[in-house]
């Protein structure tokens, strides 16, 4: 006998469940906004009042804010799954572990993407950047970047959820893997804030898509091993 619902339907139910929990508590997004807002504010103070310098580095600070916030967000995402062993409950229901992976990645990505949208006006206020040049491409970069953080982030937060030092373990595992993606995301974001005379944005976008596909494929393959006990 096979599960009665398709992989995508199950993934959609997992995603909806995560949104439902977030909507009931609204704890995660609120904490993320304050945390990353404070991070951006501190960076702008550290840089001083030089507007040219602030503008020149805004893309990097935006992604650092998102990266730090992602650790909080991803950790919380699997805290709710480890409480009462809810993840085991899902697997035994049965829900295909790959559907759980897809649902959790989209849930985490949507949370970080929503956060990035909230951070954009803060970035304008603190760093005086121009978001009106290619706003649709900026949104695409943010979407691809947050998706890229969420795919390995979901895998590693599932691994570290039951570890003793999970708060330390998650960034230790995650940050090295994310370095190439963050370089691509920050570079692409820079080219949406500033002129792009050599037309490099397209190449960075292709690189981001490639990283996303690699992270998603690896996560899709390994997540069933992580979701189930030996």
């Amino acid at each position: 006998m096979t599960p009665k619902i398709s992989l995508l339907t199950a993934a959609w139910l997992v995603l909806k469940k995560d949104w439902q929990i977030e909507w009931r508590t609204r704890a995660r997004l609120t904490a993320l906004i304050f945390f990353s807002g404070a991070t951006l504010l501190l960076f702008s103070f550290a840089m001083g009042p030089d507007v040219t310098s602030l503008r020149a580095h805004a893309h990097g600070y935006l992604w650092l804010g998102l990266l730090f916030a992602s650790v909080l967000s991803l950790g919380e995402s699997f805290r709710i799954e480890s409480e009462n062993q809810a993840l085991t409950g899902l697997v035994l229901t049965p829900v295909e572990p790959r559907a759980i992976f897809i649902g959790k990645v989209l849930g985490n990505a949507s949370m970080l993407f929503a956060l990035s949208l909230v951070l954009l006006p803060i970035t304008i206020g603190l760093y005086d950047v121009d978001l009106t040049r290619v706003p649709h491409l900026l949104l695409l970069v943010l979407f691809l970047g947050t998706l890229g953080i969420s795919a390995p982030g979901t895998v590693y937060s599932a691994i570290s959820a039951n570890a003793r030092a999970r708060d330390v373990m998650l960034p230790l595992l995650l940050f090295p893997v994310l370095v190439p993606l963050l370089l691509a995301a920050a570079s692409a974001t820079k080219l949406t804030f500033q002129p792009d005379p050599q037309d490099q944005l397209g190449s960075w976008l292709k690189l981001l898509i490639a990283f996303d596909l690699i992270y998603l494929s690896v996560g899709f393959l390994v997540f069933p091993k992580i979701a189930e006990e030996d």
Binding site: L13, N84, A86, G89, V91, V95
Partner: protein, 216 residues
Amino acid sequence: MSALAVEAIDISKRFGARWAISRLSFSLAQGRSLLLTGHNGSGKTTLLRIISTAAFPTAGTLKVLGFDSKKERDSLRPSVALVSHASFHYEDLTAAQNLLLSAKFLGVKDPASSVKELLERMGLSSRADSAVRQFSAGMRKRLAIARLLMKAPKVALLDEPFGELDPAGSLQMEQLIRDLQAQGTSVVLATHLIEQGLSLTQERLHLEGGRKVSPT
């Protein structure tokens, strides 16, 4: 399809250096029920988790309803349900939302009315819209049973089902177990309440240090 609900052939389960189950063999015919007894740490919960496919044997073969519990877990899981110390519920969802989620995953037709009916049966209708976080241990147990009933399993695994229940709840649990048995479900029951357990089951497996021994 095998006539056996559970067939354990020389199964062992190791956690680190400790063997929680050691070279255990037993079988249970379909429709029959088994009482698992033993002191704390004797391996009862581990055995129930292995039968439910929440964990897998380190060595040996376990067949449930004729399916290999590891290799054919996807085929087996729809037919087995576990009520454990962990309730498997989301604390920030309501009782109704938790059950509705399970119903949708299980592909239940008309999930909303199934949820309503089960909450009523378990005496939780008045708290349907309360978050599970606000529930007492007994109410959580009732909700976990509602989830098991939603699945209508062929093998029901109950770990200390009478724990945290008041006398009325305990009687209701006994009746539910009898109802499951009347429908042909094999029940594997782990409890320290041996007399109550014996009155509900036909067979007994006593564990000590993960090994099968004769009850004293």
